[in-house]
Protein backbone atom coordinates (compact mmCIF):
# COMPACT_ATOMS: atom_id res chain seq x y z
CA UNK A 1 0.00 0.00 0.00
CA UNK A 2 3.01 2.25 -0.02
CA UNK A 3 2.61 5.04 -2.51
CA UNK A 4 6.17 5.62 -3.67
CA UNK A 5 8.10 8.82 -3.00
CA UNK A 6 7.07 11.63 -5.33
CA UNK A 7 4.21 9.64 -6.86
CA UNK A 8 1.46 11.90 -5.59
CA UNK A 9 1.09 15.41 -7.09
CA UNK A 10 2.11 18.08 -4.54
CA UNK A 11 -1.46 19.26 -3.91
CA UNK A 12 -2.58 15.73 -3.07
CA UNK A 13 0.49 15.08 -0.93
CA UNK A 14 -0.17 18.23 1.12
CA UNK A 15 -3.90 17.53 1.43
CA UNK A 16 -3.35 13.99 2.79
CA UNK A 17 -0.69 15.30 5.14
CA UNK A 18 -3.09 17.93 6.49
CA UNK A 19 -5.82 15.30 6.85
CA UNK A 20 -3.56 12.90 8.75
CA UNK A 21 -1.74 15.32 11.06
CA UNK A 22 -4.57 15.85 13.61
CA UNK A 23 -5.06 12.11 14.00
CA UNK A 24 -1.36 11.55 14.66
CA UNK A 25 -1.17 14.44 17.15
CA UNK A 26 -4.29 13.21 18.93
CA UNK A 27 -2.84 9.69 18.88
CA UNK A 28 0.43 10.88 20.40
CA UNK A 29 -1.55 12.50 23.22
CA UNK A 30 -3.55 9.38 23.98
CA UNK A 31 -0.38 7.29 23.78
CA UNK A 32 1.41 9.43 26.39
CA UNK A 33 -1.70 9.47 28.55
CA UNK A 34 -1.95 5.68 28.39
CA UNK A 35 1.72 5.31 29.35
CA UNK A 36 1.44 7.84 32.19
CA UNK A 37 -1.74 6.39 33.69
CA UNK A 38 -0.88 2.75 33.13
CA UNK A 39 2.91 2.35 33.02
CA UNK A 40 2.40 -1.41 33.10
CA UNK A 41 0.83 -1.28 29.65
CA UNK A 42 4.05 0.01 28.05
CA UNK A 43 5.20 -3.52 27.35
CA UNK A 44 1.98 -4.51 25.60
CA UNK A 45 2.05 -1.24 23.65
CA UNK A 46 5.53 -2.15 22.50
CA UNK A 47 4.34 -5.60 21.53
CA UNK A 48 1.49 -4.11 19.47
CA UNK A 49 3.92 -1.85 17.65
CA UNK A 50 6.27 -4.78 17.15
CA UNK A 51 3.45 -6.79 15.59
CA UNK A 52 2.83 -4.03 13.03
CA UNK A 53 6.58 -3.86 12.43
CA UNK A 54 6.90 -7.57 11.66
CA UNK A 55 3.79 -7.86 9.55
CA UNK A 56 4.49 -4.85 7.38
CA UNK A 57 7.94 -6.30 6.60
CA UNK A 58 6.48 -9.63 5.49
CA UNK A 59 6.01 -9.59 1.74
CA UNK A 60 3.83 -12.52 0.83
CA UNK A 61 2.87 -13.94 -2.56
CA UNK A 62 -0.78 -13.75 -3.48
CA UNK A 63 -3.27 -15.25 -5.92
CA UNK A 64 -2.82 -12.44 -8.42
CA UNK A 65 0.80 -13.44 -8.98
CA UNK A 66 2.19 -10.42 -7.20
CA UNK A 67 3.44 -9.80 -3.68
CA UNK A 68 2.16 -7.53 -0.98
CA UNK A 69 2.32 -7.28 2.79
CA UNK A 70 -0.12 -7.19 5.71
CA UNK A 71 -0.28 -4.14 7.96
CA UNK A 72 -0.58 -5.54 11.50
CA UNK A 73 -2.60 -2.58 12.77
CA UNK A 74 -5.78 -4.48 13.73
CA UNK A 75 -4.32 -5.99 16.90
CA UNK A 76 -3.26 -2.70 18.45
CA UNK A 77 -6.54 -1.05 17.45
CA UNK A 78 -8.51 -3.73 19.30
CA UNK A 79 -6.24 -3.56 22.36
CA UNK A 80 -5.55 0.17 22.72
CA UNK A 81 -8.13 1.84 20.42
CA UNK A 82 -7.26 3.32 17.02
CA UNK A 83 -5.63 6.67 18.03
CA UNK A 84 -2.63 4.85 19.48
CA UNK A 85 -2.19 2.96 16.22
CA UNK A 86 -2.01 6.24 14.31
CA UNK A 87 1.30 6.81 16.09
CA UNK A 88 2.65 3.26 15.97
CA UNK A 89 1.72 2.95 12.27
CA UNK A 90 3.40 6.27 11.49
CA UNK A 91 6.60 5.09 13.15
CA UNK A 92 6.56 1.95 11.01
CA UNK A 93 5.94 3.96 7.84
CA UNK A 94 8.73 6.42 8.71
CA UNK A 95 11.21 3.59 9.21
CA UNK A 96 10.34 2.19 5.78
CA UNK A 97 10.36 5.59 4.08
CA UNK A 98 13.72 6.63 5.49
CA UNK A 99 15.69 3.37 5.39
CA UNK A 100 14.04 1.22 2.73
CA UNK A 101 12.97 3.81 0.14
CA UNK A 102 9.59 2.13 0.58
CA UNK A 103 6.85 4.71 0.59
CA UNK A 104 8.21 8.22 1.05
CA UNK A 105 8.19 11.47 2.96
CA UNK A 106 6.03 13.33 0.42
CA UNK A 107 3.54 10.44 0.41
CA UNK A 108 3.78 9.82 4.17
CA UNK A 109 0.52 11.68 4.84
CA UNK A 110 -1.40 9.56 2.35
CA UNK A 111 0.16 6.32 3.56
CA UNK A 112 -0.47 7.22 7.21
CA UNK A 113 -4.08 7.99 6.33
CA UNK A 114 -4.65 4.55 4.82
CA UNK A 115 -2.56 2.32 7.09
CA UNK A 116 -2.50 4.12 10.42
CA UNK A 117 -5.89 5.86 10.46
CA UNK A 118 -8.57 4.29 8.25
CA UNK A 119 -7.34 0.71 8.71
CA UNK A 120 -7.34 0.77 12.54
CA UNK A 121 -10.65 2.66 12.74
CA UNK A 122 -12.39 0.35 10.27
CA UNK A 123 -11.09 -2.74 12.07
CA UNK A 124 -12.00 -1.35 15.47
CA UNK A 125 -15.49 -0.41 14.28
CA UNK A 126 -16.14 -3.92 13.03
CA UNK A 127 -14.74 -5.36 16.26
CA UNK A 128 -17.00 -3.25 18.47
CA UNK A 129 -20.04 -3.99 16.33
CA UNK A 130 -19.47 -7.75 16.46
CA UNK A 131 -18.76 -7.71 20.20
CA UNK A 132 -21.96 -5.79 20.82
CA UNK A 133 -23.88 -8.68 19.28
CA UNK A 134 -21.90 -11.15 21.39
CA UNK A 135 -19.95 -12.61 18.51
CA UNK A 136 -17.12 -14.74 20.01
CA UNK A 137 -13.93 -12.82 20.79
CA UNK A 138 -11.68 -14.62 18.31
CA UNK A 139 -14.15 -14.27 15.43
CA UNK A 140 -14.35 -10.54 16.17
CA UNK A 141 -10.56 -10.25 16.34
CA UNK A 142 -10.16 -12.07 13.03
CA UNK A 143 -12.72 -9.77 11.38
CA UNK A 144 -11.08 -6.67 12.83
CA UNK A 145 -7.66 -7.61 11.48
CA UNK A 146 -9.10 -8.66 8.12
CA UNK A 147 -11.02 -5.41 7.69
CA UNK A 148 -8.14 -3.22 8.94
CA UNK A 149 -5.84 -4.83 6.39
CA UNK A 150 -8.19 -4.78 3.40
CA UNK A 151 -9.60 -1.30 4.01
CA UNK A 152 -6.05 0.10 4.07
CA UNK A 153 -5.46 -1.13 0.54
CA UNK A 154 -8.87 0.08 -0.64
CA UNK A 155 -8.02 3.57 0.61
CA UNK A 156 -4.69 3.46 -1.23
CA UNK A 157 -6.56 2.56 -4.42
CA UNK A 158 -8.93 5.50 -3.93
CA UNK A 159 -6.02 7.86 -3.22
CA UNK A 160 -4.25 6.87 -6.43
CA UNK A 161 -7.44 6.97 -8.50
CA UNK A 162 -8.12 10.51 -7.21
CA UNK A 163 -4.64 11.61 -8.20
CA UNK A 164 -4.53 9.75 -11.51
CA UNK A 165 -8.02 9.41 -13.02
CA UNK A 166 -8.03 7.42 -16.23
CA UNK A 167 -8.16 9.73 -19.28
CA UNK A 168 -10.90 7.56 -20.84
CA UNK A 169 -12.88 6.05 -17.98
CA UNK A 170 -12.14 8.68 -15.33
CA UNK A 171 -11.96 8.13 -11.59
CA UNK A 172 -13.93 4.87 -11.59
CA UNK A 173 -11.81 3.36 -14.35
CA UNK A 174 -8.63 4.18 -12.46
CA UNK A 175 -10.18 2.89 -9.23
CA UNK A 176 -10.85 -0.44 -10.93
CA UNK A 177 -7.28 -0.55 -12.15
CA UNK A 178 -5.61 0.27 -8.83
CA UNK A 179 -8.18 -1.80 -6.95
CA UNK A 180 -7.33 -4.89 -8.97
CA UNK A 181 -3.64 -4.34 -8.22
CA UNK A 182 -4.03 -3.70 -4.49
CA UNK A 183 -7.36 -4.86 -3.11
CA UNK A 184 -7.66 -8.19 -4.92
CA UNK A 185 -4.06 -9.11 -4.14
CA UNK A 186 -4.73 -8.26 -0.54
CA UNK A 187 -7.69 -10.56 0.14
CA UNK A 188 -5.69 -13.74 0.95
CA UNK A 189 -3.12 -11.65 2.82
CA UNK A 190 -5.88 -10.12 4.93
CA UNK A 191 -6.96 -13.67 5.80
CA UNK A 192 -3.36 -14.45 6.81
CA UNK A 193 -3.22 -11.32 8.92
CA UNK A 194 -6.51 -12.27 10.58
CA UNK A 195 -5.17 -15.73 11.44
CA UNK A 196 -1.89 -14.34 12.81
CA UNK A 197 -3.74 -11.75 14.88
CA UNK A 198 -5.94 -14.48 16.33
CA UNK A 199 -2.79 -16.47 17.14
CA UNK A 200 -1.24 -13.55 19.03
CA UNK A 201 -4.52 -12.79 20.78
CA UNK A 202 -4.77 -16.42 21.92
CA UNK A 203 -1.26 -16.17 23.34
CA UNK A 204 -2.20 -12.91 25.06
CA UNK A 205 -5.29 -14.49 26.60
CA UNK A 206 -3.03 -17.14 28.07
CA UNK A 207 -0.26 -14.86 29.23
CA UNK A 208 -1.82 -11.48 29.99
CA UNK A 209 -5.32 -12.12 31.28
CA UNK A 210 -5.19 -9.24 33.78
CA UNK A 211 -4.04 -6.74 31.18
CA UNK A 212 -6.72 -7.78 28.67
CA UNK A 213 -9.38 -7.47 31.36
CA UNK A 214 -8.23 -3.96 32.24
CA UNK A 215 -8.35 -3.01 28.53
CA UNK A 216 -11.87 -4.41 28.26
CA UNK A 217 -11.00 -7.12 25.75
CA UNK A 218 -11.72 -9.88 28.20
CA UNK A 219 -14.86 -9.42 30.25
CA UNK A 220 -14.97 -10.66 33.82
CA UNK A 221 -18.29 -12.06 34.98
CA UNK A 222 -18.92 -8.95 37.12
CA UNK A 223 -18.44 -6.40 34.34
CA UNK A 224 -20.24 -8.73 31.95
CA UNK A 225 -23.31 -8.64 34.17
CA UNK A 226 -23.07 -4.88 34.52
CA UNK A 227 -22.84 -4.52 30.76
CA UNK A 228 -25.78 -6.83 30.21
CA UNK A 229 -27.80 -4.80 32.70
CA UNK A 230 -27.01 -1.48 31.08
CA UNK A 231 -27.76 -2.96 27.66
CA UNK A 232 -31.10 -4.12 29.03
CA UNK A 233 -31.76 -0.63 30.39
CA UNK A 234 -31.04 0.89 27.00
CA UNK A 235 -33.33 -1.49 25.18
CA UNK A 236 -36.09 -0.84 27.66
Amino acid sequence: MHIAEGFLPPAHAVAWGVASAPFVVHGARSLTREVREHPESTLLLGASGAFAFVLSALKLPSVTGSCSHPTGTGLGAVLFRPPVMAVLGTITLLFQALLLAHGGLTTLGANVFSMAIVGPWAGYGVYRLLRRYDVPLMVSVFSAAFVADLSTYCVTSVQLALAFPDPGSGFLGALGKFGSIFAVTQIPLAVSEGLLTVLVMRMLVQSSRGELTRLGVLVTSATGRKRAESAGAVSR
Binding site: M1, H2, I3, A4, E5, G6, F7, P10, L43, G46, A47, G49, A50, F51, A52, F53, V54, L55, S56, A57, L58, K59, P61, S62, V63, T64, G65, S66, C67, S68, F95, Q96, A97, L98, L99, L100, A101, H102, G104, L105, T106, L160, F164, D166, P167, K177, F178, I181, F182, P188, S192, L195, L196, L199, V200, R202, M203, Q206, S207, S208
Partner: protein, 137 residues
Protein backbone atom coordinates in the same frame (compact mmCIF):
# COMPACT_ATOMS: atom_id res chain seq x y z
CA UNK B 1 -2.80 -27.25 26.95
CA UNK B 2 -1.94 -29.60 24.13
CA UNK B 3 -5.25 -28.76 22.46
CA UNK B 4 -4.21 -25.13 22.68
CA UNK B 5 -0.86 -25.81 21.09
CA UNK B 6 -2.55 -27.81 18.35
CA UNK B 7 -4.87 -24.94 17.46
CA UNK B 8 -1.95 -22.50 17.39
CA UNK B 9 -0.03 -24.88 15.15
CA UNK B 10 -2.99 -25.17 12.79
CA UNK B 11 -3.25 -21.37 12.57
CA UNK B 12 0.42 -21.12 11.59
CA UNK B 13 -0.01 -23.96 9.11
CA UNK B 14 -2.94 -22.17 7.46
CA UNK B 15 -0.89 -18.98 7.10
CA UNK B 16 2.00 -20.93 5.59
CA UNK B 17 -0.36 -22.68 3.17
CA UNK B 18 -1.85 -19.34 2.08
CA UNK B 19 1.66 -18.07 1.33
CA UNK B 20 2.91 -21.21 -0.43
CA UNK B 21 -0.14 -22.11 -2.54
CA UNK B 22 0.16 -19.23 -5.03
CA UNK B 23 3.76 -20.30 -5.66
CA UNK B 24 2.98 -24.02 -5.99
CA UNK B 25 -0.01 -23.43 -8.24
CA UNK B 26 2.09 -21.16 -10.45
CA UNK B 27 -0.33 -18.26 -10.19
CA UNK B 28 2.39 -15.86 -11.29
CA UNK B 29 3.15 -17.72 -14.52
CA UNK B 30 0.99 -15.45 -16.66
CA UNK B 31 3.24 -12.53 -15.83
CA UNK B 32 6.48 -11.52 -17.44
CA UNK B 33 7.98 -11.12 -14.00
CA UNK B 34 6.06 -13.23 -11.48
CA UNK B 35 5.52 -12.12 -7.89
CA UNK B 36 6.74 -8.55 -8.07
CA UNK B 37 5.53 -6.09 -5.47
CA UNK B 38 2.06 -4.59 -5.82
CA UNK B 39 3.55 -1.16 -4.98
CA UNK B 40 5.76 -1.36 -8.07
CA UNK B 41 2.83 -2.45 -10.23
CA UNK B 42 0.92 0.61 -9.07
CA UNK B 43 3.82 2.81 -10.22
CA UNK B 44 3.64 1.14 -13.63
CA UNK B 45 -0.11 1.70 -13.74
CA UNK B 46 0.43 5.40 -12.97
CA UNK B 47 2.85 5.79 -15.84
CA UNK B 48 0.36 3.99 -18.10
CA UNK B 49 -2.46 6.36 -17.15
CA UNK B 50 -0.29 9.48 -17.23
CA UNK B 51 2.86 8.86 -19.26
CA UNK B 52 4.06 12.42 -18.67
CA UNK B 53 4.03 12.17 -14.88
CA UNK B 54 7.43 12.69 -13.35
CA UNK B 55 7.96 11.90 -9.65
CA UNK B 56 8.84 15.28 -8.19
CA UNK B 57 10.77 14.02 -5.20
CA UNK B 58 13.16 11.13 -4.77
CA UNK B 59 13.98 9.15 -1.64
CA UNK B 60 16.63 10.71 0.60
CA UNK B 61 18.29 7.34 0.97
CA UNK B 62 17.94 4.36 -1.30
CA UNK B 63 19.42 0.94 -0.50
CA UNK B 64 22.22 0.55 -3.06
CA UNK B 65 21.29 -3.04 -3.97
CA UNK B 66 18.56 -5.63 -3.57
CA UNK B 67 20.72 -7.39 -1.01
CA UNK B 68 20.98 -4.32 1.21
CA UNK B 69 17.26 -3.75 0.84
CA UNK B 70 16.42 -7.29 1.89
CA UNK B 71 18.86 -6.95 4.79
CA UNK B 72 17.00 -3.87 6.01
CA UNK B 73 13.65 -5.61 5.60
CA UNK B 74 14.94 -8.54 7.65
CA UNK B 75 16.17 -6.07 10.25
CA UNK B 76 12.68 -4.62 10.49
CA UNK B 77 11.13 -8.06 10.90
CA UNK B 78 13.81 -9.11 13.38
CA UNK B 79 13.29 -6.05 15.58
CA UNK B 80 9.55 -6.70 15.65
CA UNK B 81 9.85 -10.44 16.22
CA UNK B 82 12.48 -9.90 18.91
CA UNK B 83 10.26 -7.47 20.81
CA UNK B 84 7.29 -9.84 20.59
CA UNK B 85 9.37 -12.78 21.78
CA UNK B 86 10.69 -10.69 24.69
CA UNK B 87 7.16 -9.79 25.70
CA UNK B 88 5.84 -13.36 25.70
CA UNK B 89 8.98 -14.76 27.32
CA UNK B 90 8.81 -12.19 30.10
CA UNK B 91 5.12 -12.90 30.74
CA UNK B 92 5.68 -16.63 30.82
CA UNK B 93 8.64 -16.32 33.17
CA UNK B 94 6.73 -14.02 35.52
CA UNK B 95 3.76 -16.34 35.60
CA UNK B 96 5.92 -19.36 36.33
CA UNK B 97 7.74 -17.47 39.06
CA UNK B 98 4.44 -16.47 40.67
CA UNK B 99 3.06 -19.99 40.47
CA UNK B 100 6.20 -21.42 41.97
CA UNK B 101 6.20 -18.84 44.76
CA UNK B 102 2.58 -19.49 45.68
CA UNK B 103 3.07 -23.26 45.52
CA UNK B 104 6.11 -22.84 47.74
CA UNK B 105 4.34 -20.77 50.37
CA UNK B 106 1.46 -23.25 50.35
CA UNK B 107 3.94 -26.10 50.89
CA UNK B 108 5.70 -24.22 53.63
CA UNK B 109 2.44 -23.44 55.40
CA UNK B 110 1.32 -27.03 55.11
CA UNK B 111 4.57 -28.40 56.49
CA UNK B 112 4.82 -25.89 59.35
CA UNK B 113 5.94 -28.64 61.75
CA UNK B 114 8.03 -30.76 59.40
CA UNK B 115 11.29 -28.89 58.85
CA UNK B 116 12.69 -31.72 56.80
CA UNK B 117 10.11 -31.35 54.05
CA UNK B 118 10.47 -27.56 53.86
CA UNK B 119 14.25 -27.86 53.79
CA UNK B 120 14.17 -30.33 50.91
CA UNK B 121 11.83 -28.01 49.01
CA UNK B 122 14.15 -25.00 49.36
CA UNK B 123 16.91 -26.83 47.57
CA UNK B 124 14.70 -27.72 44.59
CA UNK B 125 14.36 -24.40 42.74
CA UNK B 126 15.54 -20.81 42.68
CA UNK B 127 12.34 -19.02 41.60
CA UNK B 128 10.32 -18.21 44.69
CA UNK B 129 12.85 -18.33 47.49
CA UNK B 130 11.98 -14.95 48.94
CA UNK B 131 8.30 -15.67 49.25
CA UNK B 132 8.92 -19.16 50.61
CA UNK B 133 11.33 -18.08 53.34
CA UNK B 134 9.06 -15.15 54.26
CA UNK B 135 6.09 -17.41 54.90
CA UNK B 136 8.16 -20.01 56.74
CA UNK B 137 9.14 -17.55 59.46
Amino acid sequence: MSRNARINGLLLLAVAALAVLPLVLGLGDHKEEPFTGADGEAETAITEIDPDYEPWFSPLYEPPSGEIESALFSLQAAIGAGALAYYFGLRRGRRQGEERASARSRDAAGAAGGDVAAGADTGAGAGGDGAASGSRD
